[in-house]
Symmetry: C2
Amino acid sequence: MRGKAVQDYYPDDIAVCYGCGKSNKHGYQIKTYWEGEETVSCFQPQPYHTAFPGYVYGGLIASLIDCHATATAASAKYHEDDTSLGTDMLERFVTVSLHVDYVAPTPIDTSLELRGRVKESKGPKMVICLTLSAEGKETAQGEVVALKMPEDFPSKHE
Amino acid sequence: MRGKAVQDYYPDDIAVCYGCGKSNKHGYQIKTYWEGEETVSCFQPQPYHTAFPGYVYGGLIASLIDCHATATAASAKYHEDDTSLGTDMLERFVTVSLHVDYVAPTPIDTSLELRGRVKESKGPKMVICLTLSAEGKETAQGEVVALKMPEDFPSKHE
């Protein structure tokens, strides 16, 4: 539909994230795209992703914000340099901290729209600001501090 | 095993939370218990709840922290007053903000232990501090601001 998403450039062998890994068949498979200076992702909750009847579970909202943020961080330099992602694999970013403000209940029977923007970039650390909207209304705001995955990040391949 | 959990006292008609609702068959069904001045919850991740091979997805960690915190908030007054939950239904708390610091990768092939504690209680607002540990090592810290569910909280019963 929209071409390859940021997550499609994650190396296959570690693309197992429950939130956004293309190799995780059980997961949410979030897809992040750039639009101007923002990243955008849309997600349709399942009927059982409830907090209360009719409203989306806050843990899902936190999950979407987390994965959309690390995708924004991983691809920001390419976007800034106006460089095509081409055939390279992206370096992954890991979440150091996640903050979510739930500003209004999020209706479940509609597509959710996430938007992300780089707030700060300093060496291997990036701060990403995000919003989540439903039916045109902002229902959550997030801030994620992400770090380029250290080379000594432990690996437990099965 | 340990008797009724906090979540077992949530009113049936709104016990649909994906994280902790006893009526949500798709969800995590988190169970929170009091131990002294702390609440405790154990959770066994599924093999597909991965962030990277061998490690737990941060969105799941945020979800566990969120639900364990609101359960702590909902039951804290009973605990403080040394009052049995008896046959009453608990008033629910909703999350206003969620903050998680990921201090180390969380191994996936073990049970996770959550601990919660009331940091602040003022009128309908409570602040809950939490930790998540795996194999005896703390891997995440959380802080949740929760609010007693307002009477005008929108309800969309299907």
